[in-house]
Subunit: 154 residues, 2 copies
């Protein structure tokens, strides 16, 4: 297997194509990962969530990491990592345009609302009293690698 | 869709069955995610990596998060999250027994060495000069949720 570094364009194409990955946030240097659907536009990644630990942590510390991968086997895979900043699109006049754009982009996904709208039976009532949080991740940097089978690293 | 909280036993079974997930570490409150193969035994998760950013960060801050998921669609999925601590199994007499155990467990996986042994053509020589880092994640807590289609949350 050889491992090839992907170009920025390839990384963005891979992110757009995936539309699903894992988001990590951190509080007091404790990382936390959640699976997430998203839509990429320009240098931003749009998604949404219901209020909870993830949102609380990202409000406190906007530094996040998003990873997507496609693993056929141990020698045939791609992995893209984004370092970025959480940017909440609040329900305010200032953010109205971006929030509407996020909603529009996310609605294009079939079943777009379900992963972010997860509620457990235990705290459904509590969460239902709050609407979804729309946000974007502003991309600071991204990198990606592709494993290619059958070629030995030089 | 309803979302059901998994028991500890179900979480451990799901982790064992997956054997693959995403590991997040954090440095200066910047999280970083990498895909990772692993083996679970008792309250520990065994894996290995070549020297690099992930290992540097975990040596500096042992707090990590491991997530595995199985997503059929937006309403049929499981996700398990582990909070734990990185524990390097050094090549020293004190760690020899645990290190040998990690090696033995990991060898049972087909292709076990490839994901952790990733080298890019660019820095292959540099990385080849160092052996793999064996480590375990000591589980502090774990939780899991399962999305079940066709049942409305009460």
């Amino acid at each position: 297997m050889n491992v090839i570094q992907m170009t920025r364009t390839e990384c963005l194409e891979s992110l757009c194509s995936a539309g699903f990955g894992r988001l990590a946030c951190a509080f007091d240097n404790q990382p936390y990962i959640v699976p997430m659907y998203f839509v990429v536009e320009g240098d931003a990644i749009y998604s949404f969530a219901l209020p909870g630990q993830k949102v609380q942590w990202m409000r406190h510390n906007p530094r996040v990491c998003l990873e997507t991968d496609s693993v056929k086997n141990g020698s045939d895979w791609t992995s893209v990592v984004v370092f970025g900043r959480f940017d909440e699109l609040c329900d305010t006049p200032e953010s109205m345009q971006e929030r509407a754009r996020a909603h529009e982009l996310l609605q294009r996904r079939p079943m777009w609302w379900e992963p972010g709208a997860v509620v457990s039976a235990k705290n459904a009532d509590q969460k239902r009293s709050h609407g979804p949080i729309f946000f974007r991740i502003l991309i600071d940097s991204l990198s990606g690698f592709r494993g290619v089978p059958g070629i030995e690293a030089k």
